[in-house]
Amino acid sequence: MNIEQVDNALLVWGPLDEKSAAYVQRQKRIIVVPEIRPFLIGMRYNLLLLKMRNPGTVYCTDNMLGLLFFKQAIAELLLVYTKEDSRGVTAISGSLYAATLARLHAVKISLHPGPVLNYNALFKDADALSLCGRKLFSGAAVVAPAEERIAYAELGKYEKIEQ
């Protein structure tokens, strides 16, 4: 597929479950599924879940989000979170990257509760030194928590979707 064919799309960030996948399926839009490193949640989890439901999905790497936002190809970011409190939400690693880029491009952010997964137990890729379950490189890698906190203030405007 050509990037010019991606338009008015829903970007999915975070692991889907039945409810959030149903929300995605109801959108009559192209669904953009980034890989979500290091665990490859997009490739190894979301794609499989969405394939059963058969919406129009487009796969990309995380570093392509900037260009997609720049080209105004994304209409909505669905940010899947696991915890919330009065100050913000907790969501999978990389959520701050996706949410900040969405906010900087005035793209609608929708928050959806999602499954609590033990990433480190389920997926072997804990950092950038490994990929698809194989440790490919040696050296120092950023040690980041599997989930990160995002304050509501960092999201700007957002909408909560409660199913």
Binding site: R37, M43, V58, Y59, D62, F70, L96, L101, F137, V142
Partner: protein, 341 residues
């Protein structure tokens, strides 16, 4: 005037830094990834797709073979400049005077078909101008002089950039700029400054991991690898003090085209108040949005995870555009340039 909307930051090169400018004992093969053996009429191209696991060279003897290694991204960035120059030399061997200009243009057009975003046509013009200025020199000598001159400029722009980087310099980077971060490290060191590189892996080809991390490690330079999406987390944690990227194309307005992911880093850097610097070549007078963005075969997005290839539609734009407003300064062969405020 070379730069319409920018002004040059004049920083005299410290004379005491000649040790850095003359240093030659680098261990990275990426500074000069393509070499030409004239007597054997063969170009040796470092296969960058095999790094860091194997350091092997591909022999190129024809224009067709050169096009193939170019399209398959066996070499890129400065490597494709060298490949262009040496392919021209290969093709002009035995030609009489007057013919090289036609050959230079022909090779540039063929190369541009394979990698449409890189400006081979301007490179061809530079080579022809250099040849015209030295009528008594052979094209071989002109090309070698061109390469030596370009390398001297790479060192000087590393030193220029080193002078304005914050100290300590915790530099976030992506993809690979063929040894220029190694130069930057030694330039910083010559100024008595500390540096640490945070290398974004640069999916899907992992040029950040396979090339930049590899060459920094080989030189013993402190470096930490990150997933592309961890940049915002590191910036928020104040662990990054500057972002340095390369650029495949730049225009006089100050916009750049570079590896996919550059724009996101520039936007995030601006948001978190971190300076963003781009290494650029000779900027052209062009609307950057009209320059074609190379789109690779979509299945390549599953690089290193081939089991998933073909399971779903995918996209692979190889570059993105970063507007001038998000670039703090450009390190060019002419010196550092910054936007007029």
């Amino acid at each position: 005037m070379l730069f319409d909307f920018y002004y040059l930051i004049f920083l005299p090169l410290p004379v005491t830094r000649m040790d850095f400018l003359n240093k030659s004992d680098y261990k990275t093969p990426l500074l000069f990834p393509v070499r030409f053996d004239r007597s054997a009429k063969v170009i040796h191209v470092l296969d960058e797709t095999r790094l860091p696991w194997e350091e092997t060279y591909i022999d190129v003897r024809t224009l067709l073979e050169a096009e193939r290694v170019l399209f398959e991204m066996k070499t890129r960035a400065f490597g494709q400049v060298l490949l262009f120059l040496y392919t021209v030399l290969l093709e002009t061997l035995g030609q009489s005077a007057g013919e090289p200009a036609t050959t230079i243009d022909a090779v540039a057009r063929r190369f541009k078909e394979k990698r449409p975003t890189f400006d081979f046509l301007s490179l061809a013009a530079l080579l022809k101008n250099a040849a015209a200025r030295q009528p008594r020199a052979s094209l071989d000598e002109v090309a070698e002089g061109f390469i030596r001159g370009f390398d001297a400029l790479r060192r000087k722009r590393a030193l220029s950039l080193a002078q304005i980087l914050p100290s300590p310099a915790n530099i976030l980077t992506l993809c690979n700029v063929n040894g220029e971060l190694v130069y930057l490290y030694y330039a910083l060191k010559s100024l008595g400054r500390q540096a640490h590189f945070f290398v974004s892996e640069t999916r899907p080809y992992l040029q950040g991991t396979r090339l930049t991390l590899f060459e920094l490690q080989r030189e013993g330079i402190p470096a930490t690898l990150l997933c592309d999406n961890q940049a915002a987390f590191l910036m928020r944690e104040k662990r990054i003090t500057a972002v340095v990227a390369g650029a495949d194309r730049a225009n006089k307005k100050g916009d750049v085209i570079n590896k996919i992911g550059t724009y996101a880093l520039a936007r995030l850097a601006r948001y978190y108040g971190i300076p963003f610097y781009a290494y650029t070549q000779y900027p052209v007078d062009a609307d950057i949005k009209k320059i074609p963005i190379e789109q690779r075969p979509p299945e390549e997005v599953f690089m290193f995870c081939e089991a998933f290839r073909g399971t779903v539609e995918s996209i692979y734009p190889n570059f993105d555009i970063t507007p001038a407003e998000y670039i703090t300064a450009q390190a060019t062969p002419e010196g550092l340039i910054s936007r007029k405020s």
